[in-house]
Amino acid sequence: MRLLSAEITNFRLLREVSLEFSTNRDRALTVIRAENASGKTSTLKALKWGLFGSKDGLDSVGERLSPIDWPDKTPCELRVRIDFEHTLPVQIDASTIREDTQKYTLIRKAVEEPTDGTFTRSSDKTELLHHTPAGAEPVAGAEARLREIIPADMRNIFFTDGDAALTFISADAGRTTKIDQVKNAIRSLLGLGLLEDVESALKHARSRLLRRQRDDAPAGELAKVTQSLQEKEMQRDGLQSDLTQARTRTVDLERRLTEAEKELTRALSLGNFDELANQRERVSLDLKARAQQESQLIREHTSLLKGKELSWGLIGPELSRGLDLLRQLVDKGIIPKASLPILRDRLADGRCICGAALTPGSDARKHVEQLLENEKLADEHSRLLTLLYHTADADSDDARSEGRQFLYISEGLRRKRADNLRATEDLERQRKELEQKISDINAVDIQSKTMARDTAKSSLKNQERRITEIEIALRSLEPEIEALNTKQRELRRHSQKLRALNAQITATEDLSTVVQHTLEDMQHIYLRRVSDQMNVLFMDMIGADPSSGSVYQSAEITSEYEIVVNSVDGRRLSPDHEVNGAAQRALTFAFIWALTEVSGVSAPRVIDTPLGMMAGTVKRRVLELIAEPPQSANSAQQADHQVVLLLTQSEIADTEDILDLRVGSSISYSNTEHFPRDLVNEPATRQPMIITCKCSHRQYCELCERRSRAHYHLVART
């Protein structure tokens, strides 16, 4: 990068300053001559701000940039415009590298508004224009592009405040801070930024990957799912075995129920109520019949007691004796042999007692008729006798048999009645038994068997319900298991992803390791190089000084990133208090320039008051060194070699001849406020600001003439 020109607006005293920078390779120096408090620092700041912005370009954000006298509550537009060139080597082919130079215009703006002792500042507005044959094209991503051209890390290296730079070696900073600064300077400014970016990107990537590994599907989840799956499967197996058991038990219960039902049926059938009732009915009917029989027998019995058989039986002899008497009378002829009524009956019948036919006109008939005639003549008494005799006679054959008849009948009755009674008693017993049976069958047996049957039935029902429950549970479990299986497959696949993730992490770590080591390595290489270059430069600068030259042997940056100076007698000197001021400065510049050279970055070196505190030979040597492009620089660096020095007149003193040769552009600053004390002529404006003129290090003009000019042998510019 090479500065071409700059315009600074409202940057402190630099109300409106235009700068032209030397682009002459041989006269690479641009000198801005300014006394103290004349805008040197502001210029540095403005350029830094212009190139690097508020974020990177300022030492502190709270630093006010607008002119001190800017009215309160009035917006102030800060503006820095820088025109610059940037050269990049372009590989045309294997052997040809062409340099390609592009022109750019950078405009950075911000609005600051002072308010009651403080201020607000808007954010930067940056515009980068790329000058092409077609015209000025705005560059998208201006800041990024700028950073490509000149990294932000470089700002304090290329834009150096001589005093500030001492921090590398100064006593004020603690040792660690010093070392860190050196380390950081080397590490981040020597083209290792890219590697650092890569390292950072790798770290970033690794973090991301680790986070993904942790968040996405931690092994824990796979383990959890696997465990759940195992549990569910165990559950399912348990349920299935429960089901089998339950089914077996069901078969058992079914059998039990069947048996219970059989028992109940048998119990019911054994004591079949209806049958028993029927039996009882039959028995009742039999009993009734028997009772009727009994009644009949009794009737026969009572009949017997009033019958002829009894009479003949008991008084048969008397009746026979009576009859015998009557027979005697018959024998005597007192009683006729035939009874008249009987005879009359016989006559009517037409047959005699003896059987002879009493046909009309027969002798037998006539005989009977005669008897009847006689009878009519007999008396009542005889008639009675006759009647009695014939009646009794007819009956008397039965006398003994009648007597026996009674006994026969009574015996028969006795037997029949006894039989009937026995039969009745039997039936009664049967009836009682049946009654008992009937009442028995309503009792315990049926009840208990019914209960047994009902228990078996309900047990069976419960079991069937349980089976259904198990089946439902199994059915709901299956999809769960299926889901878990799917999830597990997914996780496994994911865990393959995890493996891939792991592998990526490994790769990232490996890349990181390589990069880190390379970085460290490079650092050391660069460290070595910077150290060596620093030493060269330092010794070059100091070597010219006899007082220092005899003391210092070398300067180096230790592997701990400490800048040290070695004395001739082999001691290691701490630069901050064992090295004189000039040597300190020289060392600082040596370090910085070594850095810039080794970095290969091509950027203008802008140094504010580089030669302060230096005298004579060191000053000159430093100036010489800085004016020339370093030999170790690459082609771009050489091409772009540009140095802007902000020098006071006293710094310039005793180096004018070198400057004569090396300065390509000169600007002088004059602070209006220095009139009249230092400035001879009154400025056109009394407003505190810097006015510029093109006077060189040897010249003065109306604008910049100072009272001290004579001291420096300045010549008026025409």
């Binding site: 009772a291 009644s295 009572t302 008991l314 009576g322 009956d345 009647l387 009794a392 009674f406």
Partner: protein, 162 residues
């Protein structure tokens, strides 16, 4: 039958029991029913009518060989007239006559029906106690009466049987 004519010889002659035994007569006769249960009345009241009991009593009296005159048994109770009862069992008229003939050893008695009946009454007065006792001895009087009759008949067949 022609024996029915015999009954006409007995006109309005009283059949009677001694007054003293009438409660027994009532007890063992079905004329009045002391129990509701008709079936059993036969066993308990073996005789349908007074005359049935009277006849059995007279038969047993005859076997006993003893007549009990009024003097002995006290006042009589007439329970029925002959003409009311004899026509239903005409053989009883026949037997009464034969009994009277055997008793008096003559047929003359036939001219005196009152005497025939008296003989019967006196024999009945003897027999009623016998049968009443026999009936009382049994739970079922019918068997008491029956056994007594049987024993009496059996003792006729073989002399001197208890």
């Amino acid at each position: 039958m022609s024996s029915a004519e015999l009954t006409t010889r007995f006109a309005n002659l009283p059949l009677r029991f001694p007054e003293k035994v009438m409660d027994l007569v009532i007890r063992y006769t079905q004329t009045r029913k002391p129990h509701e249960d008709e079936e059993r009345s036969g066993d308990l009241q073996p005789f349908e009518r007074y005359v049935d009991l009277w006849w059995t009593a007279l038969c047993l009296g005859v076997r006993e060989g003893r007549r009990t005159p009024e003097l002995e048994c006290g006042p009589w109770h007439k329970f029925i007239d002959t003409n009311q009862i004899l026509p239903s069992d005409p053989w009883r008229a026949e037997h009464l006559m034969l009994l009277a003939i055997a008793e008096t050893k003559s047929t003359e008695v036939l001219s005196h029906p009152s005497q025939i009946v008296e003989i019967a009454n006196e024999y009945a007065a003897t027999g009623i106690r016998l049968i009443a006792d026999a009936m009382a001895r049994e739970n079922r009087p019918i068997w008491g009466a029956t056994r007594l009759v049987e024993d009496s008949i059996s003792s006729l067949a073989s002399p001197r049987s208890a």
